[in-house]
Each structure stands twice: as structure tokens, then as C-alpha cells.
């Protein structure tokens, strides 16, 4: 039995704290956690949820971190105010992570010593309540998780009705499931009401800050964006943390992309035998006039280099999402990073440089989902979308997805009637418009002039095999100019200024949340930074202008080597020494505290 908790004084904190829920992988805590987060969201309070899980299916420690923030801070925090300990293995660590005055909920059958005296303890009679519910054996762990939902609801002041509607959403009308879960929650709530002596200083109170917003994961958003982007062809190979993106396409496409007239599917999905094949199929499909995409992560991307190099060279539109995890090698498959910036940008042998879109929010995952397909066909080149586990697999507040505001862009495809109008010989790689983008035909075109021969070897403007030095050079230079010119049409960076900033800060992707938060903290410490979030490579001239404006610019990234910092340094060699790389990778999303400290350290010097 736990000792009675000594009196602890903590000021009441409303809508600004974090909860760390420690369970065992595979024990089915997802419903419990989603119910909590949805309820808080429904109360109008900004909230985010992060799943910190092992590369395992069942039995290893897993954490779910819920951050509640009236300021709308959604990034990971280092501080934990409330811990829920359901896993004996991590009990002591979970306990130790709490701030003084924190609230410690734990299943009371865990008999680990509790050596801290500065916490509010809350042993939960999990087994008793579960027994009462009498679920089938298989569901026991799952039901146990509902107990902490009930106790937390009591401690935080979440209404049972709110929980109920969250459950109703979850079970989509399966009333029996709603009732059963709710009854366990209610039992736990009641037990807490009747038995708990402590009062949590951390509370939620309704706000209206989530109005009009939704909760979603980046991978779901990317999948939907892709579907709205008119994707015809998806070939993929499972890999964490990309898998849920193709799986979401698989889930949503049958409804959204069945032709209402014919009832036929307007797309094809193939689970390939590996990533080499996945990208090979893409290249075939892209060549044949299909809007083709795949999603993978580091190890898979490594396998895609050779075909990516071919697609770059032969000018074939394909879209590849890289949902990054921690590398090198297999690394930490279930942890987040931004370590593939270089790999993605330069993927393939020889001189290559690709177009890369970098979404920084769930909404942008949707938007770049369709834009990537447009850009690939417009530019006739592979387009990469660089996301990461944190953005892709975690739960984020997002404004609603917006229907694409431009029509589908298919680029310069010639059909029979177009060829009919062309008098001269048509050449696949002729730069007729002076914009470095040639015209293409696709198989199926029945015009006798339409066919040409595609290859990864040297060719002239008419796609004929050539080893001539000048053919090689002119062609490659044109391709370079083509990709280079994309700077003008790729998503512009997002800039946030604060009056009187001397220095700037640059970030990209999922670190946006932590950087914004850090900038607030820094301002409080007297350091004002103007902030630029990159959204694409190669970078726009706006990025260069931005860098030129400041004495010093920090580049924040979640990797070891400061890869984006390198890319920016090369863009502006004369300012290279004023770009300061602040990079860090340990598997966890960057948090504002680390960024703040790192910047302050630099500001001192």
C-alpha cells in the first residue's frame, strides 16, 4: 500500500500541463488515450498527443504524452505534471520524471517503492474495477486503461458527457461498446470521487480555442491530399512510420475515388515486394501518364536511389513521401527525426538535385499531398515530400483541410490532337518554350509520331541514344536549370517577424511547433528572433533575402549533422559563417526548452 501523501502545495494550474501515460505496448491503450484527448479538444482546449512507442507489437513500454495548452503550444515538453503508471517496468522512471508537486496515478497492484515525497499520489484500484466490469479475458488490459480515463476525468474536471461523446465518435454508433466503456469510466470516476483525498492542482476548463478545428495525423492528411490530387497509382512497401499513409489511401480511396458513373476505381494500389519495386512501378506508371506516388522511410529511400536518379534524368514525374524516422541504418524505427534531408535532396548517383516539399503541419500535409502531384507533372521530375514520424503519426490540432484551389495540373502532355497540329518532328527533350521543360507523350497515344524511347543513358533532344559530349552537357544543364527554376513556384517560406529582431531563426517541418514556442520564451528572455519556416527545396529567393537581413541566423533541425544548415550555407556562401547550426537528435521531437537554451547559449557567445 502507498503511504498517505504529505501535504503538497501546488498552485492551481488551468489548461497548461502535460500528462504522461505509461502502458504496455499492445495493451490497447489507444482508445483510452484518444478518448481523453478528444474530450479535452471538444472542450475547446488546445491539446496534442504523442505516442512514444517501441519497435514491438506487444509487451514493451509505451508512453502517450498529452499536452494541454491554453497558449496553443503543441510541441513536446520536457516537464510532466501528471503521470499515469500502468507499467511496473517503467514505474520508477515515470515517477521520477514528474515535477515536484506533480500528480502520480498508478495501478495499485504495482508494488514498486515510491521514494519521492513531493508528489500527490493516487493509487487506482484497477483490478477491482476491472473485475467488477467482468470483461472477457482478452480485453482485460484494454479495460484497465479505461480506469485511468475515469480517474483522470475526475481529477481534471472532465465531464462524463464529454467522454461519452468522444466514445461515441470512436465507436461510430456501436452503442454497446460505448456503454461498456463508459460504465468502466464511470465506475472509476465514482471510485475517485468517493475515495480520493488529493485534489489535483491541474485542471481543464472549457475554452473556445479549438472551434472549427479538427484532430488529425499528418499521414492521414497526406493520404487525403493525395487522393484529392488525383493520384492514379500507388505502389508501396510497409515501413514504419510511413505505413499509415498508404494504408489511409487504401481506406479512403474506395469511397472517394470510385467513379460515380461507372462504379469503377479511378486508381490502382499495389503493395510491391520491396521498395526497389515500389519505385520501379512508380517510374513505369509516371512514364505512362499516371500520377504516381509512394511513401517510405529512410531504409526504403536508400533503396530507391537508383530509380530516382533515372526518373530525374529521364524526366519522369513521380511523388515520393519520406516519413522520416531515426537513422542511420534501421535506427530507431518508431522514433522521429529529420535526418534524411541530404539523402532526399540529392538522392541517386551523379549530379542530382530534387524538388522537395516540407510540410510543417497536418494541414500542409494535405495541401502538399495534391501539390506534389501537380508539381511532379508540371516539372516532369520526381517530387519528394519530407515529413516525419512526429508529424505523420501523432495527433495534431488542425484547421479543416481545404479543397484544392487550383485545377489539376497535368503539365505538358501531348495527345493525338496535339501532335496533329505539330508540323515538325516532335522531340521528347526539345525545350520548345524556353522554360527548360520539354513536352511529352505517353503510351496509349495512337499517333504515329507519339512514340519515343526512354532510357537512363545519354540521349539527344529527340531521345535518341547519344554519347556525344555536347548532348550530355546540354541536356544535364537544362535539367539543372529546370529544377532550379522550381524555386519560383514552390511553396514560399512562412515568415513571422517580431519588431526589433536582430537575429533570425530558420526551421522546417515538425519542429515548427517547438520553434514557435521557443521564440515566445526567448522574447521573454529579451531575445527577439524573426522566424522563417522553410517549405521547399531548392529554396526560394525569399529565404536568401531573409538570411541577408540578420546578423546571425539560427538553423534548427532534428538531426546530428545540421543537414539543412549545410544546404543553406551553400546557397549563400558569403553569409555561411553567420548561419548557426543548432541540431539535436535523440529520437524525441525537439522541445522548446532545448531550442531556447541552445539559442541563449549562442547569444551569450
Amino acid at each position: 500500500m502507498a503511504k498517505t501523501t504529505p501535504e503538497i502545495k501546488t498552485q492551481k494550474v488551468v489548461n497548461e500541463f502535460s500528462v504522461n501515460i505509461a502502458t504496455v505496448n499492445g495493451s490497447g491503450s489507444q482508445t483510452a488515450n484518444m478518448t481523453l484527448i478528444r474530450s479535452i479538444f471538444k472542450m475547446g482546449i488546445p491539446v496534442s498527443g504523442k505516442n512514444i512507442f517501441p519497435s514491438n507489437i506487444q509487451g514493451l513500454p509505451t508512453w502517450y504524452k498529452i499536452r494541454v495548452s491554453k497558449y496553443g503550444y503543441l510541441a513536446r515538453t520536457q516537464k510532466t505534471e501528471i503521470a499515469v503508471a500502468m507499467n511496473p517496468k517503467t514505474f520508477t522512471d515515470d515517477l521520477n520524471e514528474l515535477i515536484p508537486g506533480g500528480v502520480f496515478l498508478y495501478a495499485d497492484h504495482i508494488k514498486e517503492p515510491i521514494l519521492r515525497e513531493d508528489l500527490l499520489l493516487c493509487p487506482m484500484p484497477v483490478k477491482t474495477i476491472v473485475k467488477q466490469a467482468n470483461p472477457p479475458r482478452k480485453l482485460r488490459d484494454y479495460v484497465a486503461n479505461m480506469v485511468y480515463v475515469g480517474v483522470l476525468a475526475y481529477l481534471l474536471d472532465i465531464q462524463l458527457d464529454t467522454l461519452k461523446s468522444a466514445l461515441e465518435f470512436h465507436f461510430k454508433g456501436k452503442q454497446s461498446a460505448v456503454d461498456f466503456n463508459l460504465s468502466v469510466i464511470r465506475d472509476a470516476f465514482q471510485w475517485a470521487e468517493n475515495n480520493l483525498e488529493i485534489v489535483s492542482p491541474f485542471k481543464v476548463q472549457p475554452l473556445n480555442l479549438t472551434d472549427g478545428c479538427h484532430l488529425a495525423k499528418g499521414n492521414t492528411a497526406g493520404a487525403l491530399g493525395t487522393i484529392y490530387g488525383g493520384m492514379h497509382f500507388l505502389s508501396w512497401y510497409p515501413i514504419t512510420p510511413a505505413t499509415s499513409l498508404p494504408e489511409a489511401i487504401h481506406a479512403y480511396a474506395p469511397d472517394l475515388r470510385k467513379d460515380p458513373e461507372t462504379g469503377k476505381n479511378t486508381y490502382v494500389i499495389i503493395q510491391a515486394e520491396d521498395e526497389l519495386a515500389a519505385i520501379g512501378m512508380l517510374v513505369g506508371a509516371g512514364w505512362a501518364g499516371l500520377r504516381a506516388m509512394t511513401a517510405t522511410s529512410g531504409p526504403g529511400l536508400s533503396l530507391m536511389g537508383e530509380y530516382a536518379s533515372l526518373a530525374y534524368f529521364a524526366e519522369i514525374p513521380i511523388v515520393v513521401w519520406n516519413v522520416q524516422r531515426v537513422g542511420p541504418s534501421t535506427g530507431l524505427p518508431t522514433r522521429t527525426a529529420q535526418g534524411d534531408v541530404n539523402l532526399t535532396y540529392y538522392l541517386g548517383q551523379g549530379d542530382t538535385e530534387h524538388v522537395v516539399l516540407i510540410p510543417g503541419s497536418v494541414k500542409e500535409c494535405f495541401e502538399f499531398g495534391w501539390k506534389a502531384l501537380d508539381l511532379a507533372e508540371l516539372l516532369q521530375t520526381p517530387v519528394f515530400v519530407l515529413s516525419d514520424l512526429d508529424l505523420g503519426q501523432n495527433q495534431w490540432i488542425t484547421p479543416p483541410f481545404e479543397y484544392p484551389d487550383t485545377p489539376i495540373e497535368r503539365g505538358k502532355i501531348l495527345w493525338e490532337e496535339d501532335l496533329e497540329k505539330i508540323k515538325d518532328d516532335w522531340g521528347r527533350y526539345l525545350d520548345l518554350d524556353g522554360d527548360n521543360i520539354p513536352y511529352r507523350t505517353v503510351p496509349g497515344n495512337q499517333h504515329p509520331k507519339s512514340a519515343y524511347f526512354t532510357r537512363g543513358t545519354g540521349h539527344d533532344d529527340y531521345a535518341k541514344y547519344s554519347e556525344k559530349p555536347e548532348d550530355w552537357e546540354e541536356n544535364l544543364d537544362r535539367i539543372k536549370r529546370k529544377v532550379d527554376s522550381s524555386r519560383n513556384i514552390l511553396p514560399e517560406p512562412e515568415i513571422t517577424t517580431r519588431s526589433g529582431s536582430k537575429n533570425g531563426i530558420i526551421a522546417f517541418g515538425s519542429t515548427d511547433f517547438a520553434v514557435r514556442e521557443a521564440c515566445d520564451y526567448l522574447e521573454a528572455e529579451g531575445v527577439k528572433l524573426d522566424y522563417l519556416r522553410l517549405r521547399a527545396l531548392p529554396v526560394s529567393s525569399k529565404v536568401l533575402e531573409f538570411i541577408r537581413k540578420y546578423e546571425r541566423v539560427y538553423v534548427i533541425e532534428n538531426n546530428r549533422d545540421g543537414q539543412m544548415h549545410s544546404i543553406l550555407s551553400l546557397e549563400l556562401p558569403d553569409r555561411a559563417s553567420d548561419l548557426v547550426s543548432l541540431s539535436h537528435i535523440d529520437g524525441l521531437p525537439l522541445c522548446a526548452e532545448w531550442i531556447k537554451d541552445a539559442v541563449l547559449e549562442e547569444e551569450k557567445s
Partner: protein, 343 residues
């Protein structure tokens, strides 16, 4: 005798219309025979060149598509990875006919994985392996189909047992598997014609000698060996629907394999009494032939009824690559519903 009459096919095309660039393969290379028979087969079958797409990997063999049907779309992809390219390309417009040419290195060494997976998926596609037991383009190393003990300049003796492409195709569940020989143009052509009408993957393993690097008389992949050891399973002819009705073949002497599109393959019995419809029996027959030191050629296995990859997807009649934009993007109304699901 003044004017040479040029033969036209039913499309009004000449054989010239089915040719490609001039071959840059070695004189006498077996692969040139394959090029020639693809041209003849497509010409005789009245296939519009624009209805064909042709793909390959990397190797001398993989250059072959350059040399036939210049009016067809072509793609010379990556070494060992033509199957994935073909799979993606085929879905652009499923009314197109896909022809692939690969090498033994391309298919059985680096390409083994993709080869097995394209056979398993049964993509409607003619997959020709120009099999010479050697890497021609990189100048004469052993490929995975080189027979054990084969001696090649600079390479010494081959240590390993060979991959048998027919075995692999059958194990891999290809629905049409044949073996033939560049030195047997008639059979080669008949098999290509049949393969082009098969709805599913048609793998033709063509023993196609490399005269530059592996044509020693006692080498399995040489002209000399093939010529003296070839045993044709049957006399094979491909019959279009109209003619099929007319053909009279003696019962018991011939086997009629009807294809899904009304065409027929007629197998006239030769020395062997063999029905190419049982996977395990096919392999038994090959084992026996191996023991007899025979180069068995002909149609070794066929299952005209196995569902093809196209049959597994419920696609519109309009080719995917011609679907109008409005068919590709869900309605503006749908976005609201979708947003409501996001919680």
C-alpha cells in the same frame, strides 16, 4: 521482275514499319534472332505498333527493344528491374500490349526477385529472356544460368549450379512458360505470337547464344549445342479465331489450347506425348530431359484461365491515363464530410 512487291499486313503496314533502329549487337548474336521474330510476329498478328509498349532492363539483350518497332513506346530501365517498370507502365492504358526483353543476368541474377513477383502477379505481358548464360554487355562474366563447370576467359570455371528460368517461372506461378532457341526461328515466332495473345504473363526463355563470349561448341548456350540437342516438345502453331474454326487436326495427334480471346494454340505431337497443363509434371519432364542431355523446347506450361493482374482491379474502360480531371478529384462537397471524420 522489275518491281519488288512489298507485303502489307491487314493494317496496311509493311514489315519495315515494325523495325526499329539498326542493331548494334554483334553479328550473329542470338538476340538479333529474337528481334527478328518479334518483328515478324507483330507484323503477322497485325498489331498496331502504337498499341505496344516495350521495356527492358540493362544488357545486350535489353537493348533489343531498340531494334524493333520504332513506332512503339520504349523504356530501357534499370538492370534487373524491368518487371516493376512494366507493371507500373501497364496500368497507364491496359489496352496496350506489353513486351519485355531481359537477359539471363538481368532476370536470374540481379532481377530474380522482381522476376518472381511479376510472374506471381500474372501481369498480361510478354516476358522474353534472351538467355546466353553470360553477361554480354560487361564482357563475359558468368550469369546465374551458366552451367556448372563452364569455363570462360578470365573467369575460370563456374562453381555454381545454374538457375533454370523455366523452373523458376513455373514455381513462380507464371501462367505461360516456354523455352525455345534463337536457332529455331519458327518455334520462336510461334511462341511469341501465342504469348502476345495470352492474357497473363508469358515467359519465354530463349536460349540465345552470345557469339562473342559464350559460344564454345560444348557450352549449353551455344549454337552448336542447341542445334544438336534441341528436342521440340511439339510443333506449335498459333491460330487466330477465324482460322481456328477451319483447322482440322487429327484427334489424339494434336492438342488445342484455346486462349481467352478466341485464338488457339495448336500443339502437334512430336516425339513426346506431353500436355503442358500440370506444373509438377512439367518439372518432371524437364528433369528427365536434363538427364537425357536434351534441350527441350516448346510450350512447357500454360494456364489460360488464371486471373490476370488486370482482372483483379476493377478499372474503368477509359484508360486511366486518359481519365478527365474531374474523374480524378473527389467533389468539393466531399471535403466537408472528410473533415468531419478528423477527430
Amino acid at each position: 521482275m522489275a518491281e519488288k512487291k512489298v507485303k502489307l499486313n491487314e493494317l496496311g503496314l509493311t514489315k519495315e514499319d515494325y523495325k526499329g533502329q539498326k542493331s548494334t549487337l554483334c553479328l550473329g548474336c542470338g538476340h538479333n534472332a529474337i528481334v527478328g521474330q518479334v518483328i515478324s510476329a507483330c507484323f503477322e498478328l497485325n498489331i498496331p505498333p502504337e498499341k505496344v509498349f516495350k521495356v527492358s532492363g540493362i544488357g545486350c539483350s535489353s537493348k533489343a527493344p531498340t531494334y524493333f518497332m520504332k513506332r512503339s513506346f520504349g523504356f530501357n530501365g534499370l538492370h534487373g528491374r524491368m518487371p516493376s517498370l512494366a507493371t507500373g507502365a501497364a496500368f497507364g492504358d491496359t489496352s496496350m500490349i506489353g513486351i519485355g526483353v531481359s537477359g539471363d543476368g538481368d532476370t536470374a541474377s540481379i532481377g530474380m526477385g522482381q522476376f518472381k513477383h511479376i510472374t506471381r502477379r500474372n501481369l498480361p505481358f510478354l516476358y522474353i529472356v534472351a538467355n546466353n548464360g553470360v553477361y554480354g554487355l560487361t564482357k563475359g562474366q558468368f550469369s546465374a544460368t551458366a552451367e556448372k563447370g563452364l569455363a570462360l576467359k578470365k573467369q575460370g570455371q563456374n562453381r555454381y549450379v545454374p538457375v533454370d528460368i523455366v523452373w523458376e517461372a513455373i514455381a513462380g506461378r507464371a501462367s505461360f512458360v516456354a523455352r525455345t532457341f534463337s536457332g529455331d526461328p519458327q518455334q520462336l515466332k510461334a511462341l511469341i505470337m501465342a504469348g502476345l495473345h495470352h492474357r497473363g504473363i508469358a515467359v519465354i526463355d530463349v536460349i540465345s547464344p552470345c557469339v562473342t563470349f559464350n559460344n564454345q561448341d560444348d557450352s549449353f548456350h551455344s549454337y552448336a549445342w542447341g542445334k544438336s540437342h534441341e528436342v521440340a516438345l511439339h510443333k506449335l502453331s498459333f491460330v487466330p479465331p477465324v482460322e481456328a474454326i477451319k483447322v482440322e487436326y487429327e484427334k489424339g495427334e494434336s492438342l488445342d489450347v484455346p486462349l481467352f480471346d478466341g485464338t488457339h494454340i495448336i500443339l502437334k505431337k512430336l516425339a513426346h506425348d506431353y500436355e503442358p497443363t500440370d506444373r509438377a509434371r512439367a518439372l518432371q519432364m524437364l528433369e528427365d530431359a536434363n538427364r537425357q542431355n536434351e534441350l527441350i523446347t516448346g510450350l512447357i506450361y500454360i494456364n489460360p484461365k488464371q486471373k490476370s493482374l488486370f482482372d483483379l482491379y476493377d478499372l474503368p474502360d477509359t484508360p486511366l491515363n486518359r481519365l478527365p480531371d474531374e474523374k480524378l478529384r473527389p467533389s468539393p462537397e466531399s471535403i466537408e464530410e472528410i473533415n468531419q471524420l478528423m477527430l
